[in-house]
Subunit: 171 residues, 2 copies
């Protein structure tokens, strides 16, 4: 099921993939998937966890991590954890899972860097960078920004890196 | 009607204000408002236009503009033009209006600055900064980021300014 979900999310992105299609590809009853994972969002988060393993990731200011992430998001679309960053919260279990994931994978590694660097307001700076990143990732697939959407990871990553790096104090 | 809408949007934010309530406060039939403006989004855009006048605004790297904007958004909530930046597009007339507004008020002034500064990829850099700004503005009201939500404009604006300024080349 995880493999079928991974393939479909990668092919079509989160929004255009249904539980029914995942069930069909996996040869499993869609109702079973829904019951087992709790919904499409949680299944998506399971595929992301599976792909990334459980190790704490490098932070967004590591250019390699940034590049890998931007490339994957360009193929697969942003998915629910990024939407949870900017959508008003109804605080369902699913949205809480997406938010926890966002903090664990994006905010916390940056906060740790800023603490180590003895920068003031490490939590605020980490959240600021993560929110900026979520906005850019979502804007790339929203259709609102033509130039941002058509620029590939190769050109985008250095610009994005410079922008996010400015979440650190410059003076 | 515009004045009633302004007051209500400022008191409750975009999402929690209804056309019916605006009609009640203005003493006008809500159906009339819907017919005249085309919907809540377009009414919202009309109030923003009314408040800002028609002059081309300064760009986001002007600290005064940034401060005014962040303060207003803290009172009033982000509204549909920011949501249009990150939400997948169904290309309705309303969403097109919100996007056009976003480009006219945020992207275009920055692009002009970058062209004047003879920076490469002015359109891409302007879109990148506008998307980052939209992400941060939306994240402040989404409930996903505690520290970002509770930090007031006074502390936030300098950090935000440094981040957005990094959409310019640093070398």
């Amino acid at each position: 099921m995880i493999r079928a979900a991974m393939e479909l999310f990668a092919e079509r992105g989160f929004d255009r993939t249904t539980i029914r299609e995942i069930g069909e590809r996996a040869g499993v009853d869609p109702a079973l998937i829904a019951r087992y994972f709790g919904g499409k969002t949680q299944l998506y988060l399971a595929t992301v966890r599976e792909e990334q393993g459980t190790a704490t990731p490098a932070d967004l200011l590591e250019e390699e991590r940034l590049r890998t992430l931007v490339e994957r998001l360009s193929r697969r679309g942003p998915g629910p954890s990024f939407q949870a960053a900017v959508m008003p919260g109804d605080s369902t279990e699913v949205q809480q899972a997406a938010r926890a994931y966002l903090h664990e994978r994006l905010v916390e590694p940056l906060r740790e860097r800023f603490v180590t660097e003895q920068v003031d307001r490490p939590q605020l700076r980490a959240e600021l960078a993560a929110a900026a990143f979520a906005g850019i990732v979502l804007a790339r697939s929203s259709g609102a920004f033509g130039e941002l959407a058509k620029t590939g990871p190769e050109e985008l990553v250095p610009l994005l890196h410079d922008l996010l790096a400015a979440s650190r104090p410059t003076h």
